[in-house]
């Protein structure tokens, strides 16, 4: 079968829709994650989503995986959100919980005696296993997350990039950090089921980090992050169909290439600005 034939299959279409929704969410939340310096806490949240999903798989079976991942991710995201901004303490607490979650997840998986594809899906992604019901749930959750994000985006950006003045201007900095933690937890839980715990970062961090290299406009950065995430996910799915390999390596590689190109462009931009400044000063 050619790639085009494959694309007309139901499960592939479901996978694509799921990927598109996930990429929109990741692309929009990504710049805030990067702005708040939360890359490590995203990774930690993903590992706890993995533990939650694996635990649910063990106890309740395959139907409960999504809920398990969601509960694990949101709980730990709330905890990370409450940690405050002291980088060093935050890093160590995240490290402690991340490794514990990973260990727990591995234990649950070893005890699980069902199909091994169910096991590894949570770590490396199982997008082709997404069915119509999953897609509907995903789309619904996506719309809710987007709606909340649209409402809080501006004060959230203010609180993330300029916390002192934001607090003085009456922005509920603490409450927003909890709201964002929930949004992030939900997104990570969805991501874990699609691209897997190990690669959630490549959708939540890489596109936003790439966008930050080439633009200083917050709006354009969000738009670019969404576009980059979409290219990585859709490109990854199509390429994996063609090659008959798992999608994660393709998603990760495409995102990485985008990042490298943006870095190169960013370096050029900086140099040009520096040259201009020298000319103006001279």
């Amino acid at each position: 079968m050619s790639t085009l034939d494959l694309l007309s299959l139901d499960f592939v279409r479901n996978a694509l829709i799921a990927g598109v929704v996930l990429a929109v969410l990741s692309g929009l939340l990504g710049p805030v994650v990067v702005g708040r310096g939360m890359a490590f806490s995203v990774h930690g949240t993903a590992e706890l989503a993995f533990a939650g999903g694996a635990g649910a798989l063990l106890v309740f079976g395959t139907d409960a995986v999504g809920w398990g991942a969601l509960v694990g991710a949101v709980l730990v995201a709330l905890l990370f959100g409450a940690l405050g901004r002291a980088q060093r303490e935050r890093d160590s607490v995240i490290g402690v919980l991340l490794s514990f979650g990973l260990g727990l997840g591995v234990l649950f998986q070893s005890l699980y005696t069902g199909r091994s594809a169910n096991k590894f899906g949570l770590l490396v992604g199982q997008i082709v296993g997404v069915d119509v019901g999953d897609v509907l749930t995903l789309a619904l959750v996506g719309v809710v997350v987007l709606g909340v994000f649209a409402v809080v985006r501006r004060p959230l950006l203010f609180a993330s990039l300029d916390p002192e003045v934001a607090a003085a201007r009456g922005v509920p900095v603490r409450a927003l950090s909890i709201v964002f933690a929930v949004l992030l937890g939900v997104t990570v839980a969805l991501g874990v089921q699609i691209v897997g715990a190990l690669l959630v970062l490549c959708l939540l961090i890489t596109p936003a980090a790439a966008a930050a290299q080439v633009t200083a406009s917050p709006t354009l950065a969000s738009v670019l992050a969404v576009v980059f995430a979409e290219v990585a996910v859709i490109g990854g799915i199509v390429a994996s169909l063609d090659a008959g390999l798992p999608i994660s390596p393709f998603v990760a590689s495409i995102a990485f290439v985008i990042y490298v190109v943006c870095r190169a462009l960013g370096a050029l931009r900086t140099r040009r600005r520096a040259t201009r400044a020298t000319i103006m000063a001279g």
């Binding site: 004060p155 990039l161 934001a166 003085a168």
Partner: protein, 266 residues
Amino acid sequence: MSSTPSLRLSGAEVRRGGRTLWTGLDLDVAPGEFVTVLGPNGSGKTTLLSVLLGLLPLAAGTCEVGGRAPRRGNATVGYVPQHTNVDPLTPLRERDLVGLGLDGHRFGPALRGRAERARKVREALLQVDALDLADAPVGALSGGEQQRLRIAQALVGDPGLLLADEPLHSLDLARQRTVVDLLERRRREHGTAVVLVTHELNPVLPVTDRVLYLVDGQFRIGTPDEVMTSETLSELYRTEVDVVRVRDRIVVVGAEDRLVHTGGGP
């Protein structure tokens, strides 16, 4: 000019962590007045700003800002926070940061009033002579440029009271003068009262109307000539302090060594 003081403290007392920082503070600041707050670390200078911003309640006494109790998000108060470095890769331009000062606290997408918003942001940038930097990433700016930008951000809401926390910190003399000129122009042209916290009186001495000097729970308020004397500062620091006038500068000798001991930590 209106008769309502821009800010009024009476019998104000502040406690933090079980310790009384200062008590019995009475201070009226008139519109257009420039008050410089001095004192060693830990004497409660920044805490005073927190009270005026409505972030910290008084333990006793009353406080009014523009005739009303201080409250978070008061649009008539502009705030220039202590300088912090902005990561060069933060996707944020000058005009974005200034714009956040205008409406960053509002929820929901900004759909209407974009032209008006852009005009106010331009005006604020113009006031600090930074219009040419409007599209520059905040993280790529020098310390002096960032400080000017912070002032634009504080001025964009057209405040009647401007609170500035160490706005001259780590700036060279020329840039210090630029920032002081901006503040001076603002209070002269718009009658904005300025309360400025600093370790260094000299850069703001020419524009300072009154000094609030806080040391270890004690304080003095008055014109620089009244407060900055050997006698007054020796009383405040409870040790021999010499105040020497060298041309248009005031040099305080003997207080520096006490900083650590009176400070009680940050």
